[in-house]
């Protein structure tokens, strides 16, 4: 939970840049004098503010509003090649990947068919005849032919294993190829020795194992092919998100409307979308109004009405009207592109639970090679006759069954599906660690304003206290209060200013303005010294509110926040403000409670108001009158009680508490995903996202554990059996062919199990997820 050091990658990927930066890699720049030429060419491109080339790294950083294609063209015009550095998610890459995968799939299947068409007949023969012995010269000749055929299979179908094994061996590393090459190679070599020089071996040990070699190569190719297929389905969520991107946009330039490729849309272009079209870029509505379906981005099923001044996001769907909007973010800066990037990153960062498997697989292969040698030695020294044959079979089987692929895949596959699943529900999980911690949350701290409530309070009552002879009217009270609060951004202040505006009141000039943090504001309007704030402010300035305690309590009981206006040290009026609950807060909080999570509400409101809000929201535990800086302390307090604390907030003042909590949840709103201190971002305002996040993370973690257990059984249980520990007891020794099948199946099992997660649905969910 360390917001600053978490993202060394691509300077804060979820933050919208105000000043677009393009990074290009330059090819063909051989001399330092090229630098000036390239920079000059780039600076001439429309919209470019500056171009800076790093000659050592052959990269150039360009600032300004320009499209990347134009920049690349400019560099090419100067006689060099340029490519975009990093790059975002694009259809092209996915398509290319699918093509490559399909070609590879076909190749694997072809290789598998060749290998099995030799392996299966040989195996049937060995099962029917029993022993594949080499006794007579004729037998030797026949087996020699079979041996050469097997060699053909090894070259045609298994070449990639042997080349890979050799390369990695040279590199002082060992991998799956190493194991397969050693296993099949050992079986084949031994068989050839039996044929070529049988006298070297005791008569009983003159068996050939060509069928094992051919079968293993065939089965493992089959396993790889199946795994490839299953993997394709795993990345469905990303594919769906990428698929949301429109391909073209209709922009208005110089009075003409033209359809252009989405990459060519520039910031500040005016874009038109018609009913039923996807929005190509992020923007601000200039003209028209329409309902926009943002469910793909936020999980929020209800379309949102948009009109002049509203923000719209790329990838969302325009339902009924025509909109004209100004592009504010294009290319990889759009909210959708940032979400795709964030999900991609999260999908490949592992939760701590997966790291043990990483450590294991790092040392696994050489360790297995040692075990294979040890098991061969054990058979040779203590095994029954024919010890040589048993030694070869056990060593081969150990090597084949031990491939740690499945172990390595167990975590990333599940996390990939889980994070994608969450994204579909509008829950952005930052990384694997957040995913794991979210599954363990025992207490959830909710900031009241903007989290449980809508965060836009309204003035409900203005009570003029008849103490002064010339008691002013309501509108004068409101005008004074609003004049004081005009500069403040506090939500309660906004409510008062809005209320004054809606009554058409003009504001007065305030002098001697002084904001008292957490308390209120003072200032002078004309001759009047005004003081406006909460009960603490009144107490601080010795203004007695006790005579009106009945009124105050009545307001508080209705979850209204009373604010006091004093003029010249005399209490003049109470203005009550109330912030309504979000419509689904109650059901969402119920879901959390049912999941066994302790729910705590924090608010700066006074006790009585807080109690009333908590009661309405169905929360029994709350802390009132919390100053912004104390929110983090409350989180610490809960942590000291042994709770794993999730903190949910929406404001900047929540950042310390978000960072302090075990998992910080930020309430984002579709277009604004710039929330860096949060581990999990809820794209729609609803608190259902919290329960969704916890449920998805629990399901994912369960899936990871199943995968790890499954992979571990293949390896940890498979290896000793392959080595022959069961032989003394049950006379059981695995056949290398079974090992090959098990190894091929292990990865497939893991990927398939991870895919089961795709069908997981949060318990109560008001979004409809589409299956892809």
């Amino acid at each position: 939970m360390n917001p600053e050091i978490n993202s060394p990658n691509a300077s804060s990927p979820v933050k919208a840049r105000t000043d677009p930066i393009h990074e290009l890699i330059i090819e063909g720049a051989g001399c330092a004098s090229c630098v000036g030429k390239i920079e000059k060419a780039l600076k001439q491109v429309r919209g470019v503010e500056n171009a800076d080339m790093n000659f050592a790294q052959r990269t150039v950083t360009v600032t300004g509003n320009a499209d990347t294609a134009g920049l690349i063209a400019a560099v090419e015009g100067a006689g060099y090649n340029a490519r975009q550095l990093g790059g975002g998610a694009n259809d092209d890459e996915l398509e290319q990947k699918e093509k490559a995968d399909w070609a590879y799939y076909k190749r694997l299947m072809r290789e598998m068919a060749i290998a099995l068409s030799l392996g299966i007949p040989l195996m049937i023969y060995s099962l029917v005849v029993g022993e594949m012995t080499v006794a007579t010269t004729v037998e030797r000749l026949v087996w020699l032919v079979v041996g050469l055929l097997t060699l053909g299979v090894m070259v045609f179908s298994g070449k990639h294993f042997y080349i890979g094994a050799w390369k990695s061996l040279k590199n002082h590393s060992a991998n799956m190829d190493t194991l397969i090459a050693l296993g099949t190679g050992a079986a084949w070599l031994y068989s050839m020795v039996v044929i070529m020089a049988p006298s070297l071996l005791p008569e009983m040990a003159r068996h050939v194992y060509f069928e094992a070699t051919a079968m293993i190569i065939g089965l493992i190719n089959l396993g790889l092919a199946l795994e490839l297929k299953a993997r394709g389905r795993t990345s469905a969520a990303i594919k769906r998100l990428v698929g949301l991107q429109a391909k073209t946009a209709r922009v208005v330039r110089d009075g003409h409307e033209l359809d252009i490729a989405i990459e060519q849309v520039l910031k500040d272009d005016v874009v038109r979308v018609r009913p039923g079209e996807k929005l190509p870029v992020d923007g601000e509505v200039l003209e028209g109004h329409s309902a926009i379906d943002e469910s793909m981005l936020t999980g929020e099923p209800m379309p949102v009405e948009k009109a002049r001044g509203d923000e719209v996001a790329a990838g969302t769907l325009n339902k009924n009207g025509t909109l004209l909007f100004r592009a504010t973010r294009v290319g990889k800066d759009t909210a959708l592109a940032q979400i795709i990037n964030m999900v991609k990153r999260a999908q490949n960062s592992k939760p701590p639970i997966g790291r043990l498997a990483d450590v294991i697989s790092a040392y696994f292969v050489p360790a297995i090679m040692i075990i294979a040698v040890l098991s061969a030695l054990a058979w040779l020294n203590f095994g029954p006759a024919p010890a040589v044959a048993f030694a070869v079979v056990s060593a081969t089987t150990v090597l084949i069954i031990a491939c740690p692929c499945a172990l390595g895949l167990a975590t990333p596959m599940s996390v990939m599906v889980g994070v994608g699943k969450a994204a579909e529900a509008g829950v952005l999980i930052r990384n694997g660690e957040a995913l794991q911690t979210a599954s363990k949350i025992t207490a959830m701290v909710l900031d009241k304003t903007g989290t449980i409530t809508q965060g836009s309070p309204k003035v409900t009552d203005i009570i003029v206290l008849e103490q002064e002879a010339d008691a002013p009217e309501e509108s004068a009270i409101l005008r004074w209060a609003a004049s004081l609060e005009a500069g403040s951004e506090h939500p309660l202040a906004l409510a008062i200013v809005d209320s004054a505006k809606s009554r058409g009141l003009s504001l007065d000039k305030v002098t001697g303005f002084n904001a008292i943090a957490g308390h209120g504001i003072e200032g002078r309007v004309g001759k009047r010294a005004l003081l406006f704030g909460n009960d603490k402010l009144m107490a601080q300035r010795d203004i007695d509110i006790q005579p009106h305690i009945g009124t105050i309590q009545a307001l508080a009981a209705e979850a209204k926040t009373p604010m006091y206006l004093a003029v010249n040290q005399k209490l003049l009026a109470i203005i009550a403000v109330s912030d309504p609950l979000k419509p689904d807060s109650v059901t969402a909080i119920n879901r959390l409670k049912q999941a066994g999570v302790r729910v705590v509400m924090l608010t700066g409101d006074n006790q009585a108001t807080a109690r009333a809000v908590a009661a309405r929201a169905g929360i029994s535990e709350f802390v009132a009158e919390v100053l912004p800086q104390d929110k983090a302390n409350k989180v610490i307090e809960l942590q000291q009680q042994g709770e794993i604390v999730g903190m949910t907030g929406d404001g900047i003042n929540d950042a310390p508490a978000l960072a302090q909590s075990n998992v910080g949840f930020a309430i984002g709103t579709g277009t604004d995903v710039a929330i860096e201190s949060a581990d999990i971002t809820l794209m729609r305002g609803s608190l259902h996202g919290l329960a969704d996040a916890i449920e998805v993370s629990k399901a994912t973690l369960r899936n990871v554990k199943q995968n790890l257990l499954g992979a571990f059984i293949y390896n940890a249980a498979g290896v000793p059996i392959a080595a022959g520990v069961l032989y003394p007891l049950f006379g059981l020794l695995l056949s290398p062919v079974i090992a090959g099948a098990a190894m091929a199946l292990s990865s497939v099992t893991v990927v398939t199990n991870a895919n089961r997660l795709r069908f997981f649905k949060p318990q109560v969910s008001n979004y409809q997820s589409e299956e892809v």
Binding site: S7, P8, E23, I25, A56, Q57, R58, T59, R83, L85, G86, G87, E93, Q96, K97, A100, D101, Y104, R107, H160, G164, A165, W166, K167, S168, L169, N171, H172, S173, N175, M176, D177, L224, E227, R231, K344, R345, Q347, N348, S349, K350, D358, S361, A362, V365, P366, M369, I370, V373, L374, A376, L377, L380, N381, P404, C405, G408, L409, P412, N431
Partner: protein, 118 residues
């Protein structure tokens, strides 16, 4: 028999030395951007020496079609990128403190290391 046992033990010693004890040579990347080829189950070069506190660019060129090679992850740097076949993917490495940073594929079949030191 004794000979066979001695041979086996020597083999184990060789495995330990070859894979665990041997320090492979590094490739310097101070002056130019470096290209890592992803082919036949390995990264070439796999051990890359980078200067500290300086960002750098690695170009990954994936020739290997195997799905294992599909992703490259730098766990400590929170970088993960998919590598398209037969294309170059450039990855920007942020300035790093001295130390060793592993990178590998999703399955950890392909492994490499960034060695950051003066």
């Amino acid at each position: 028999m004794l000979l066979v046992n001695l041979f086996g033990l020597a083999l184990i010693g060789l495995i330990i030395w070859w894979f665990w004890l041997y320090r492979p040579e590094q490739v310097d990347a101070d002056s130019t951007a470096i290209t890592v080829r992803v082919e036949h189950g390995v990264y070439q070069p796999a051990h890359i020496h980078l200067p500290p506190d300086q960002s750098s660019v690695l170009s990954f060129e994936r020739v290997d079609e195997s799905p294992c090679a599909e992703m490259v992850l730098f766990p400590e740097l929170e970088i993960s990128e998919s590598l398209p076949v037969n294309r170059v993917k450039t990855i920007r490495i942020p300035p790093l403190k001295s130390g060793e940073y592993e990178f590998h594929c999703q399955m950890q079949m392909y492994r490499g290391k960034l060695i950051v030191s003066d």
